[in-house]
């Protein structure tokens, strides 16, 4: 009997093959993004640690928010881990050293930020509480300056480690390709910005309609610490609203797909809920949860995102072919199994279309929800307030932060999508 083993190339195409550079698809830049984010997080966490940086530098002030800080610290750990995985650092001696350096830094930073236990401070005899507040007592200043100098060493070392792991110099051909690939985006950006600037100057458009990009940029660098804080507050609402709304949408979508008559009954109700403009709901929801309670904002986001998630789930769960269902039936698979192994994966393309739409919706929702009363520490309040007071450059700077957060959120969901459904036609490569 003839054995038909295929001539499959067994060579893994390693990400850093010396001979042939790997294909520069969009995933090709994942490592660079991870490395850059890790480096940025190293810098940020370094700033958070010492009041001299946190309270006295513009950059440090941006990260003064106490709920944001632990997230950033944990983020550092996650990204460092991703970086080590991506580069397979344990493969080489240098990699192992760099990994160790990064981990040591993380070990210093994490307790300092998450548990308020600054090891270095403890060694210098500084009270832990003093790290959390602006330095008013000049007597402590020299001690903090020493602490700062000392802590700069591991921070710089960590940066060096990231750089070694990343080795951007070995990836130059990548960048050439990536630049070529992403040239259109950059080009559009440049053209639009230049046109925007030029048109305003040439046609003398009054700045209170649209400020010039340069004015916005200048304003941005001036006020970004405030924007980071309010942006973070608003993003949290958007995120949790997204989770609740899409989660509920998915769950009810499941129920509807399972029980057809329930679906035809639930659907009108869902549509009804969705046709109610948030602006009408907002006062009622504010009454219910209390306008100062984040729950009211989260509820508004949830209502906004619920519908796309639900309707796409129903559609997606029914997007299986009769033959595929028959196969499952022939195994006498339970409904649950049919769901898990067939309907769920088959519905993913639809669900992800919905989730992507929901990311931007959730940012809009979180921002708009702040228009109807409540906290003054949000992006939406800032945008509206600045616009109302004719501080248009400030308003636009805030809008830019909103956009960035929205795009970030969208990109995150897209990355998960790619990761979950590599089989889908839209991601296949030749």
């Amino acid at each position: 009997m003839v054995d038909n083993t295929l001539r499959v190339t067994g060579q893994r195409l390693p990400a850093r093959a010396k001979t042939a550079p790997p294909p520069a698809d969009s995933r090709g830049l994942a490592l660079d993004v991870i490395a850059l984010v890790t480096a940025l997080l190293v810098v940020i966490t370094h700033h958070i640690q010492n009041p001299l940086l946190q309270f006295e530098l513009q950059f440090g002030r941006a990260f003064r928010n106490v709920t944001l800080q632990p997230v950033l610290a944990v983020g550092l750990l996650i990204f460092a881990g991703l970086l080590l995985l991506q580069t397979q650092a344990w493969r080489s001696l240098m990699g192992r050293c760099a990994a160790a350096g990064l981990l040591v830094y993380a070990a210093l930073v994490l307790p300092a930020i998450v548990l308020d236990a600054n090891l270095l401070g403890a060694a210098l005899g500084l009270p832990p509480a003093a790290f959390l507040e602006e330095l008013k007592d000049d007597a402590l200043r020299p001690a903090f300056e020493t602490a700062l100098t000392l802590s700069t060493v591991p921070a710089l070392a960590a940066l060096l480690c990231v750089l070694l792991l990343w080795s951007p110099w070995a990836r130059l051909p990548h960048y050439a390709r990536a630049v070529r690939r992403n040239a259109p985006v950059l080009l559009v950006a440049v053209v639009v910005l230049v046109l925007w600037e030029v048109l305003i100057v040439v046609f003398r458009v009054q700045e209170f309609f649209i400020p010039r990009p340069t004015t916005i940029a200048a304003t941005f660098t001036e006020i970004y610490p405030r924007l980071v804080t309010v942006g973070w507050n608003t993003f949290q609402n958007a995120f949790w609203g997204f989770v609740v709304g899409c989660g509920l949408g998915f769950l009810t979508g499941l129920l509807s797909a399972r029980f057809v008559s329930l679906s035809s009954a639930l659907l009108p109700l869902a549509i009804a809920a969705n046709s109610v403009p948030i602006i009408a709901f907002a006062p009622i929801i504010n009454n219910w949860f209390g306008a100062l309670n984040p729950a009211s904002k989260i509820a508004i986001v949830a209502i906004l995102t619920y519908f796309p998630a639900m309707i796409s789930t129903v559609r997606g769960l029914n997007a299986t072919s009769p033959l595929q269902i028959e196969l499952m039936r022939s195994y006498a698979a339970s409904e649950m199994q049919i769901f898990r192994k067939l309907r769920f994966p088959a519905s993913l393309p639809f669900v992800f279309s919905a989730l992507k739409v929901a990311t931007t919706l959730s940012m809009i929702g979180a921002i708009v929800s702040e228009y109807f009363g409540g906290t003054t520490q949000g992006l939406g309040y800032r945008i509206r307030e600045d616009a109302a007071n004719f501080k248009y450059p400030e308003a636009w700077a805030a809008i830019i932060v909103a956009s960035l957060l929205g795009i970030l959120f969208y990109t995150l969901v897209s990355a998960v999508e790619r990761w979950l459904m590599p089989w889908h036609v839209t991601f296949r490569d030749e």
């Binding site: 309609f209 504010n286 009454n287 209390g290 409540g374 616009a387 109302a388 007071n389 004719f390 248009y392």
Partner: protein, 343 residues
């Protein structure tokens, strides 16, 4: 045929706050002046300054603070007539809370609207050494259009216009139909006018460039003459004016609009220098507060205000209608009963 058409942009939705303008249109005062005027209702997010600057309207109604801010950004808005002579903004607290002065607001949750309306309150707070930006001193609550948060006691004090939100508190009907639930005896009314930090409110403004065009000063004067007569009419014919307003907005409560009309009259009248003439002292106070709170970054220039047009209109009117009182020095408000739910 030769009648020029101009538009006037209100600051908010149709209500008795703008009754004088509706009266001027309904009674044909503007027509008599040789003008065809369109009254554009406003709403949240409508900046009358933007509309006027963009040429969407010739005249705009706005509060002085935001007008100055917009001028600084280049809208070239010019105040040509100050209709309201005093501020209608108050801060309400519950009587049982014991918060009786602005100084008492330290450590409370204090509601106030945005859109630049917060600055008079902030000025009062600072005057009492409370930093509105410091959460340890006071929690500022971005107050929505309604008074629910105050009624639910979610916040300790709330901003209220005498002619609108304040009435809503008293018009409230309880679950079981009890009415009135709250009377003026149940609340403390903190007055910004008394604290000396009030900012001037409704005024008429135009665009400087527009005004500079030949013939437009005359049009402005014609517009003001009609408007002034409308406001005079509303002072003397409260109920008729309310009917004009109701005809504009199908969903408004009659009792509430009547209350509003009466309260608005109190803000307009008496006008010691004549209707529409700006009190320079109050103007200075407003400008100072605006400067203090970075609503504007430099003191307003000379061109921000022109009283001559209003004066010309007023003088003309006094000459043409010698019997009519354009100062209202002995204006007496009428008594308006609070109706349940403002019906």
């Amino acid at each position: 045929q030769d009648v020029p058409t101009v538009r006037v942009q209100m600051k908010w939705v149709t209500q008795a706050q703008f009754a004088g303008f509706y009266a001027a249109r309904e009674l044909g005062y503007w027509e008599e002046e040789g003008l065809n005027v369109e009254v554009l209702p406003g709403g949240p997010d409508i900046g009358p300054q933007q509309v006027v600057a963009a040429g969407g309207a010739e005249f705009g109604i706005d509060w002085l603070g935001s007008m100055l801010a917009s001028r600084e950004q280049g809208t070239k808005a010019v105040n040509i007539a100050q209709i309201y002579q005093r501020s209608g903004m108050r801060q309400l607290t519950w009587k049982d809370s014991g918060l009786e002065t602005f100084a008492d607001l330290r450590g409370t949750v204090t509601g106030v609207w945005g859109f630049g309306n917060q600055y008079p309150l902030f000025a009062a707070l600072v005057k009492n050494e409370i930093d509105p930006d410091n959460p340890d001193d006071i929690t500022i609550f971005n107050q929505p259009f309604d008074m629910v948060a105050f009624l639910n006691r979610e916040i300790d004090s709330a901003a209220a216009m005498t002619y609108n939100e304040m009435a809503q508190v008293f018009e409230y009907v309880a679950e079981d139909g009890t009415f009135p639930v709250y009377t003026p005896d149940d609340v403390n009314i903190l007055d910004l006018n008394e604290e000396g930090t009030a900012m001037l409110e409704d005024l008429v403004f135009v665009n400087e460039d527009w005004l500079a065009q030949a013939g437009n000063e005359e049009i402005a004067i014609q517009f003001l003459r009609g408007s002034f007569r409308g406001w005079v009419y509303c002072r003397d014919n409260v109920e008729a004016c309310v009917d004009f307003v109701l005809a504009e907005g199908a969903t408004l409560g009659t009792g509430h609009q009547l209350w509003m009309m009466n309260e608005v009259n109190k803000l307009v009248w008496p006008s010691p220098a004549g209707i529409g003439i700006l009190d320079m002292e109050l103007y200075q106070q407003t400008a100072d507060i605006a400067l203090n709170y970075e609503v504007i970054s430099t003191a307003p220039d000379e061109g921000a205000v022109r009283t001559d047009l209003a004066q010309a209109a007023l003088d003309g009117l006094i000459a043409d209608y010698p019997d009519v009182d354009f100062m209202g020095m002995d204006y007496e408000p009428i008594d308006v009963a609070i109706t349940p739910n403002g019906e």
